[in-house]
């Protein structure tokens, strides 16, 4: 249960090292998983789109240059010397007539010599000549141009004379690059925007979807703090069996202790009344002395055993969902009761418990613990009793002091485990034995010391979460 409460926000509790905490959270897991998936999907999609676009751009470039080659060939004519040439005036694209226009064309003969070229044909290294009737499309790097070459055999009027030529068209690649850059920028811009929008939507969806779990965690915290008795909110169908069972568990845990105590109380009642009658018989004058003594001893033993076992069984001890109990009003009630009982003995009762102090201890246990300590101090003390509390790291210490004779030297030994509590003599710290059982049930410690008031000082240290 605590795990749910702690995990929804991920940081507050748990001894795990810090870097591994987010992976303990459902929200972080879902977020990370879907984020990785989205990023992979968007990246691959973007790369595929970019590849397809570049492909089609290449095709378009080639088509354009092919058209130009055809139109150049259409404008070609044979000179008197038999060489082929192209009349610039007849060239369809005006850029060929301008130098530095980015578009150039040339005609090479079989030996690779330029027999004709446009306004400013770049001096290039030897271009590979394609076979007759073949196209060769490539991208050159220095300078960055596209080049398309076409191999042909020129048949003139005289069919015996055929010459081999290569037409080459070069176009500057910067326009192509610009187009590609614009496309890329647009594509990735939109993809990233979509990615962010999706992530935000996802975050909101997760928040909404996991809200019932977070609410459940908060409710459990409230129950632990005693602000509400059980889980009250409405939850989605998937969580309802869980909340129903949790509620049943909380009720069971609370009522079990009550039932147990009531049953023990009944047992005590039925056992103790006949014991009281037997004890009364020990005062009967008709009994022989030996029988009376035996009867008294045995009744005393039975009484101690019953007391001891009842106390042990009745101590609730620390539980998960113990509500914190305000100490001050409880102490005030006990003190009012004791002042009534010890009216002639008590002169000063000092309650120094802070109003705001709350302890995670069962209320019944707290009554027993304080009741016995205060009763001892009132009974055996010198009329002055002081009750105080000290916050210690991870624990709370309850301190009861008096100005009586204090503890005998061997008092600590009385508290050691193994000294059977049920064999102790009445009046010799029977109440203290009860307190010790209780403190042990909470994994605390009990200290017997000397008070600055002059008498006994009992310190009960109760661990608190």
């Amino acid at each position: 249960m605590g795990a749910v409460g702690g995990n929804s926000e991920g940081a507050s509790s748990g001894p795990a090292p810090r870097f591994s905490i987010p992976m303990n959270s459902l929200r972080a897991r879902l977020l990370l998983g879907t984020a990785l998936l989205l990023i992979a999907f968007v990246s691959l999609g973007g790369l595929a789109l970019e590849w397809a676009f570049r492909n089609s751009l290449d095709h378009a470039q080639q088509d354009k240059l092919e058209g130009l080659v055809y139109s150049l060939l259409g404008a070609a004519a044979t000179l008197e010397n038999g060489e082929l040439s192209i009349a610039l005036e007849a060239v369809p694209d005006p850029r060929l007539r301008q130098p530095l226009s980015g578009l150039d064309a040339a005609l090479f003969n079989e030996a690779g010599e330029a027999v004709w070229s446009s306004a400013a044909f770049l001096r290039l290294g030897s271009l590979q000549q394609p076979g007759v009737g073949e196209w060769r499309f490539e991208r050159l790097r220095e300078p960055d141009v596209f080049s398309l070459s076409f191999g042909l055999r020129w048949v003139d009027v005289n069919p015996e004379v055929t010459r081999r030529y290569t037409v080459t068209v070069l176009e500057d690649a910067s326009a192509y690059e610009r187009q590609l850059t614009v496309f890329r920028r647009t594509l990735w811009g939109w993809l990233i925007a979509t990615l962010i929008a999706l992530m935000v939507t996802l975050l909101l969806l997760l928040r909404w979807g996991l809200a019932p779990l977070r609410r459940l965690g908060q409710e459990l915290k409230k129950i632990e703090d005693g602000e509400q008795p059980q889980i009250e909110g409405r939850y989605p169908a998937e969580l309802q069996p869980l909340t129903r069972d949790l509620n049943a568990m909380i009720v069971a845990e609370r009522s079990q202790q009550t039932r147990y105590r009531n049953a023990l109380g009944d047992l005590a009642h039925t056992l103790k009344t006949p014991l009281a009658v037997l004890r009364g018989l020990t005062g009967e004058s008709g009994l022989p002395d030996l029988a009376r003594q035996q009867l008294g001893e045995q009744v005393g033993r039975m009484q101690h055993i019953v007391d001891h076992q009842l106390r042990r069984a009745a101590a609730a001890g620390s539980r998960t969902l113990t509500e914190p109990v305000a100490l001050r009003p409880l102490a005030d009630k006990l003190i009012a009761a004791l002042v009534k009982v010890y009216a002639t003995q008590i002169r000063r009762f000092d309650n120094r418990i802070p109003e705001a102090l709350k302890l995670r201890v069962d209320q019944g246990d707290l009554y027993e613990l304080l009741g016995n300590l205060l009763d001892n101090a009132s009974k055996y003390g010198g009329g002055q009793v002081r009750l105080s509390a000290e916050q210690r790291p991870g624990a709370c210490a309850l301190i009861v002091e008096d100005n009586g004779p204090g503890f005998p030297e061997d008092a600590e030994r009385l508290l050691q485990r193994g000294v059977r509590a049920d064999l102790r003599k009445p009046g010799q710290g029977l109440g203290l034995a009860a307190v010790e059982e209780l403190v042990h049930a909470y994994e605390g410690r009990l200290y017997l010391e000397r008070s600055s008031l002059g008498g006994a000082r009992v310190v009960a240290v109760l661990p608190q979460r």
């Binding site: 004890r279 009364g280 009741g371």
Partner: protein
């Protein structure tokens, strides 16, 4: 002194009644809550011993009712449940002390005597007034350091007057608090007791501890020590 015992276990009730009677109390007793509640409100009592776990009206409810009806006598609760929560509850409701079962006869009597002294405004274990010291537990009377022999009934009258020292006690009040409903009463006997008490406590008429208020009753007139 008149005591009321409300306890449902017949053996224990009989025992407690016997303890108290032997100690000089006039004792009324009830075996269930309903009868007990009636007696607690209607009978004259100086002290009540009430078991908390009763059939019918619970012990706590009886105490609540008798306090509501304005009865102020001290109440000692008997309980088998020695939880502090129930003790505190009982004391908050109006009880004055508690005794956890099983208990010793001596403890019961000592607690009852202490409650009676406290309700009369006495703080010490012995009632001391003028030259007299009365120990209600040991049933001894000392005048000027010398023991005084009293019969049981004489002692009861003395105890009642001294406990309520300074208050006028009528003959009928004395009768009511010395005898139970079942016992035969004769208010003339009271006059006899008072006369004998005076002659035993103050043979030379030196201190005159008991004053007769004509038409009203008697009053212990020596100051409390």
């Amino acid at each position: 002194m008149r005591a009321l015992v409300i306890e449902d276990d017949p053996d224990l009730r009989q025992q407690v009644v016997q303890f108290l009677s032997a100690d000089g109390f006039a004792v009324d007793s009830a075996g269930d809550g309903t009868q007990g509640a009636y007696m607690a409100e209607e009978y004259p009592a100086d002290v009540a011993i009430v078991d908390l776990g009763l059939p019918g009206t619970s012990g706590l409810e009886i105490i609540r009712q008798l306090r509501k009806a304005g009865r102020k006598y001290p109440v000692l609760i008997l309980t088998a449940r020695d939880g502090w929560q129930s003790k505190v509850e009982g004391l908050e409701t109006g009880a004055d002390d508690y005794l956890v079962k099983p208990f010793q006869k001596e403890e019961l009597l000592a607690r009852v005597r202490a409650l009676l002294r406290r309700s009369g405004g006495w703080a010490q274990a012995q009632l001391a007034s003028g030259p007299y010291v009365v120990d209600t537990g040991a049933k001894t009377v000392v005048a000027d350091g010398k023991p005084v022999e009293l019969t049981s009934y004489e002692f009861r009258v003395l105890e009642y007057l001294l406990t309520h020292a300074g208050k006028v006690i009528s003959k009928s009040e004395l009768t009511e608090h010395l005898y139970t409903e079942d016992e035969e009463r004769d208010s003339n006997v009271i006059e006899v007791f008072i006369r004998r008490l005076r002659s035993k406590l103050d043979p030379e008429s030196h201190y005159n501890p008991i004053t007769t208020i004509r038409g009203a009753g008697y009053r212990w007139d020596l100051p409390r020590a």
